[in-house]
Symmetry: C2
Subunit: 339 residues, 2 copies
């Protein structure tokens, strides 16, 4: 009798219940802290739980009730990105606090990869999903709607979301920075980005920026889109390229702060003064910028706020509480002294 059940050290509810001299259902009620048991019974059950080392089986629970899935699928472009790392940390923190588990996926800015992930994710019958892809395939949308699973699209504000959207408008970020730079008197402005092979949100900012220039009857003096991931080195290299092609560029708008910092270092390395010889602006306000001798002109984004807001909104929806469909998390142009 002992030997048979010790195949894997797995004790189940029935054994706990039997040991405590109650029914399986009563033990279940105690463990879920539902009502319908006396304090005395609870103590009896909990004593056996401890003695037998019972580990609840959430797979069985999720299977049995369909209400009790506490899995939340979270999809981001990359796990190794300082901006998304902070979003993930914040989401995971909020979810864990609320008793939910995070299953992650990295789509690398490919809508097809995202679709494959969503498909496999849905078979876990998650309580909800958090997506950060900038666009989804038609199948992705259909799959999600067919399963009627709550979803929050984060990062970019989607004005007609599948379900909920938490974020801000990337186009507007670019537009605002465009007007700012033009207002400072720059006229021959370049753009350096790094997601040409699979455009992410940076493309929206770039378009907003170009649009601002158009509104002042200007156009991009030069553009460098590396087939690479954004990063310090990509910024360094991209700046080298663009300045080799056009030496009359007086300012550069970068896809993000990492690249802008790389750009500053390139300029430094060839003896160009920032902002004396060239103006530089980034986006995203990463921590690395805080140690630069100059304060980088950038757009401040709160990754933490997005993560927490998204997690809270999703769980509210999961629980059937009322939620705003579209929640804007503010961004702020932070003037520095690199422009």
């Amino acid at each position: 009798m002992a030997g048979k059940n010790e195949k894997r050290g797995n004790v189940n509810l029935s054994e706990v219940a039997r040991a405590a001299g109650v029914s399986k259902m009563t033990a279940s009620r105690v463990l879920r802290n539902a009502s319908g048991f006396s304090a005395e019974t609870r103590d009896k059950v909990m004593k056996q739980v401890d003695r037998l080392g019972y580990v609840p089986n959430r797979i069985a629970a999720a299977f049995g009730s369909e209400q009790t899935s506490t899995i939340i699928g979270v999809s981001v472009p990359y796990l190794s990105s300082s901006l998304f790392g902070a979003v993930l940390d914040s989401i995971n923190n909020s979810l864990a606090r609320l008793g939910f588990q995070t299953m992650i996926g990295a789509h690398e800015n490919s809508a097809e990869t995202e679709e494959a992930w969503v498909r496999s994710m849905l078979s876990w019958r998650p309580a909800g999903l958090i997506l950060s892809g900038h666009s989804h395939t038609r199948t992705t949308r259909e799959l999600i709607k067919a399963q009627a699973v709550p979803v929050v699209e984060i990062w970019n504000l989607n004005t007609s979301p599948i379900d909920l959207s938490v974020g801000f408008n990337h186009f507007d970020c670019g537009y605002e920075m465009g007007l700012y730079i033009i207002g400072k008197g720059y006229r021959n402005i370049g753009y350096v980005g790094a997601d040409a092979q699979a455009p992410g949100m940076g493309a929206f900012r770039r378009n907003g920026f170009v649009s601002a220039m158009k509104s002042a009857s200007l156009e991009l003096g030069a553009e460098e889109l590396l087939h690479d991931r954004s990063g310090f080195y990509a910024g360094f290299y991209g700046t080298e390229n663009i300045l080799n092609r056009r030496n009359d560029i007086d300012a550069i708008y970068y896809q993000d702060d990492s690249m802008a910092i790389g750009g500053i270092f390139y300029c430094q390395s060839i003896g160009m003064k920032v902002p004396g010889d060239i103006g530089i602006a980034g986006w995203g306000s990463i921590e690395a910028a805080s140690v630069l001798p100059q304060r980088l002109t950038t757009t401040v984004v709160s990754s933490q706020a997005i993560g927490k807001t998204a997690a809270d909104a999703l769980i509210a929806r999961v629980r059937g509480e009322p939620v705003e469909d579209i929640i804007i998390t503010p961004t702020r142009l932070a003037p520095g002294n690199t422009i």
Copy 2:
């Protein structure tokens, strides 16, 4: 009949099987690509799968068989850290490729937080776990052993692991760097770190470093342990502190590259030349260092290799294939020109 099952757009195997005119079991075999069905039958089933939009239920599958859980729990200190971000990315990539799902947890260097996570994780009956905490509570170890779940401890090499260990020796990294710096003629060396409230692996490197100094009959000239997370700013600030206390320090070893870079910037900001006035060394080889005007003296660690090796080893163990218990991923002291 139609209305009743359309409660949630959920189609189950029975319905697919009925529509295809076969038994549930045959449909199951087709979907798992097991043997025991004809090409004709497969086409019939797959046609209905597409027509009805069947999404398999992995919760039910995992529940029914116990062999088919494809959940892997992965625990790291923080999700928003460039080093662990790369490890996570690599783990997730490898696992996804092998058909496994990653459930994450962040323990923030607290063994108690890790224990709570392990407890909740085990109730999902995962196929395996990847842990990166530098030490575990006794309960954590007991829980894992009782459930007989495969585990890989990563990052720090554990010479008596619970199950498997993939990583390298942090003490040795510090020791090696200590000898190197002493060999360059420095004598009054400081250490700047940032995990005093919950020591992570950096503490081992620091101890290795101190040990190297002892072997040369030296001791730390000064030490600054910030109650903060490691990062550029912590390095900047820590350097300011340590140099204000002792202005005769001729070199500083940092907990990691982020902090070392922060240190370089602080020195630059007060007009100290690196390495003329002070030598600086970091650890971890993060990308940010690649854009510095000087090449940072550091220890190169392949986060990617650790992630992939750990994932592969774990899955081999899950599948019952033979695996090395202890796998060392190499590190390399990379001399730069900051020392």
